[in-house]
C-alpha cells in the first residue's frame, strides 16, 4: 500500500495533477499565518527592553534564515533520492527548490544587515550567523551554477545532486568552524533573543511566521514543480492531454 503511494509520487503526470490540487491547501493557510504573524509581531508584541522596536525585524529574519537551511536540506534529500533511485521527479523538486532557498538566504542576509544597523551602527559585521548565511548563499549559487553549466538535463540533475549531498554534509561543519572562528575574537554579534526569556506574545507570532513561511515554501515549490515537470517532460505524450485541461 505504502509502496504504491511512493511509486505514484515518482510518476510525472501524477505529480503534475497532484501539485495543482494541493497548492491552494498550502497557499491559503500560509497567507493567513503570515498575516497573523506579522500583525502579532509588528503590532501586538511588546517592545524588547534592550532593543526597543528594532528587534521586530526578527519576524522576517528568523523565518528566512530557518527556511534557507530547511530548503537546502530538502533540496539535498530530494537530490539524494533522485540520485540513488533515479527518480526524475525528485530531481525536479531539487531544481525547483534551489532559487527559492537562495531567495530566503538573501532575505535573511538583507534583514540581518538591516537589523544590524541600529544595533552595531554598520550594515555588516562578521557575525557567525550572518557569515554562515553568506556561505550558504554561495553554496546555493554554486549549485545553481553547476546545474546551468550542463546542457543535458539528466547530467545536470545527477552532478548537482552529488554537490547538494556533499554540501549538506558540509553545512554543519562550516557552521561549527565559523562559530569557532568567531569565538576566538571579541566580535559583536546579533543580539540573541533567547526563547525561554521571551514572553508568549513575542514568540507566538514568531512560530506563526515560521510555519507560515514553511507552508509558503511548500506552495511555491508545488507551483515551480509543475513548471519543472512540464519542461522536462515536454516530449512525452501525456503532456498534450494534461495541458489541454
Amino acid at each position: 500500500m505504502a509502496w504504491t503511494w511512493f511509486h505514484r509520487l515518482a510518476s510525472p503526470p501524477h505529480v503534475y495533477r497532484l501539485s495543482a490540487r494541493l497548492t491552494p491547501w498550502l497557499a491559503w493557510p500560509a497567507a493567513l499565518l503570515i498575516v497573523a504573524g506579522l500583525i502579532g509581531g509588528l503590532w501586538l508584541a511588546p517592545p524588547d527592553y534592550q532593543q526597543g522596536d528594532g528587534y521586530r525585524i526578527i519576524y522576517v529574519h528568523a523565518p528566512s534564515a530557518w527556511m534557507s537551511l530547511f530548503v537546502y536540506t530538502t533540496m539535498a534529500v530530494a537530490a539524494g533520492i533522485g540520485l540513488i533511485w533515479r527518480m526524475k521527479v525528485a530531481h525536479a523538486v531539487a531544481a525547483a527548490s534551489a532559487p527559492v532557498g537562495a531567495s530566503f538566504t538573501f532575505a535573511a542576509l538583507v534583514t540581518g544587515s538591516l537589523w544590524g544597523k541600529p544595533m552595531w551602527g554598520t550594515y555588516w559585521q562578521w557575525d557567525p550567523r550572518l557569515t554562515s548565511e553568506l556561505i550558504l548563499l554561495f553554496l546555493y549559487l554554486g549549485y545553481m551554477g553547476l546545474r546551468s553549466a550542463f546542457d543535458d538535463t539528466q547530467r545536470a540533475d545527477r552532478a548537482s545532486a552529488v554537490l547538494a549531498v556533499v554540501g549538506v554534509i558540509n553545512v554543519p561543519i562550516i557552521h561549527f568552524s565559523v562559530v569557532w572562528w568567531n569565538s576566538l575574537h571579541q566580535a559583536p554579534s546579533l543580539m540573541y533573543l533567547g526563547k525561554p526569556t521571551m514572553p508568549p506574545s513575542m514568540y507566538v507570532p514568531l512560530l506563526l511566521m515560521l510555519v507560515g513561511f514553511t507552508l509558503f515554501y511548500g506552495a511555491v515549490l508545488l507551483v515551480r514543480l509543475r513548471g519543472e515537470v512540464l519542461s522536462r517532460e515536454r516530449a512525452a505524450s501525456w503532456i498534450r492531454e494534461a495541458v489541454r485541461t
Binding site: 533515479r86 546542457d151 543535458d152 538535463t153 539528466q154 515536454r234 516530449a235
Partner: protein, 210 residues
C-alpha cells in the same frame, strides 16, 4: 567457459529528448562476434557504452553470463575490455609505459608478455617513443596490443579499425579470430566489414534511424 553470453533485452535510452536506443535486442555468445553497423548517429557507440555499463538505460536490461550487469559491476568490468574511439594513451608516456600502467592496474603483466604483444602489432620501431610522436595508426596498434593483453572473455570495440591500413585491418581480424576461437565474445561497431578469416561466422546487426 561456455556460459559467456552477452544479452541485451528491450534496451531503451534517451539523451535529453532524443530516443537513441529504441527497444534494442541483441545476443552474442561464446565463440561469436557480433558486427554492429549503422550510419553515424544511429546509436552504435551508445549501445556499446550501455553494454559495458557506462551508460544507464531507461528501460530493458543487459545481462552477462545470465546475470544483470548492474548486480556486480566491478566483477563485470574485470571480465571485459572496452576500446572507444580514441586510444586510451597518455601522450607523454611511451607506448610500452602506457600499456604497463593501463593493463598493470587490472592484472600482473610480465615484461615478456608486454614485449611480445607490442612486437605482434609491429611496435618494435616505435614502442619506446612518446605517444605524441606516433601516428594515429601506431596509436591504434598500441591500443590493440593492450586489448590482447587484457585476457578477458568479452570485447566491446568501437570502430577498432579506424586509422589502420589494410595490413592493420587484417591484424584486427586475426585478433578477433583468435579471441572467438578461444571461446571469447566480441561486439564490434564498425563502418567496414571486419577482416576475419571466416566472414560467414560473423553475426550481424544494423541500427537504423526509424
Amino acid at each position: 567457459m561456455s556460459d559467456f553470453r552477452l544479452k541485451g533485452e528491450n534496451v531503451h535510452l534517451w539523451r535529453g529528448d532524443h530516443h537513441v536506443l529504441r527497444g534494442v535486442r541483441f545476443e552474442v555468445g561464446a565463440g561469436e562476434c557480433l558486427q554492429l553497423t549503422g550510419a553515424n548517429g544511429t546509436g552504435k557507440t551508445t549501445l556499446l557504452r550501455t553494454a559495458c555499463g557506462l551508460a544507464y538505460p531507461e528501460g530493458g536490461e543487459i545481462t552477462w553470463r545470465g546475470q544483470n550487469i548492474r548486480a556486480d559491476m566491478q566483477a563485470f568490468h574485470a571480465q571485459l575490455a572496452y576500446l572507444g574511439h580514441e586510444p586510451p594513451l597518455k601522450s607523454e608516456l611511451t607506448a610500452r609505459e602506457n600499456l604497463h600502467f593501463w593493463i598493470g592496474v587490472r592484472r600482473r603483466l610480465p615484461r615478456r608478455e608486454l614485449d611480445q604483444a607490442l612486437e605482434r602489432v609491429g611496435g618494435n620501431q616505435w614502442a619506446d617513443r612518446p605517444v605524441r610522436t606516433l601516428s594515429a595508426g601506431q596509436k591504434r596498434r598500441a591500443a590493440l596490443a593492450g586489448l590482447t593483453l587484457m585476457r578477458v572473455p568479452l570485447w566491446l570495440l568501437d570502430e577498432p579499425t579506424t586509422n589502420l591500413d589494410v595490413e592493420g585491418q587484417k591484424l584486427v581480424g586475426s585478433f578477433i579470430d583468435e579471441h572467438v576461437q578461444a571461446g571469447g565474445v566480441a561486439l564490434a561497431a564498425v563502418h567496414h566489414e571486419l577482416a576475419v578469416s571466416r566472414p560467414e561466422s560473423l553475426r550481424r546487426m544494423e541500427l537504423t534511424f526509424d
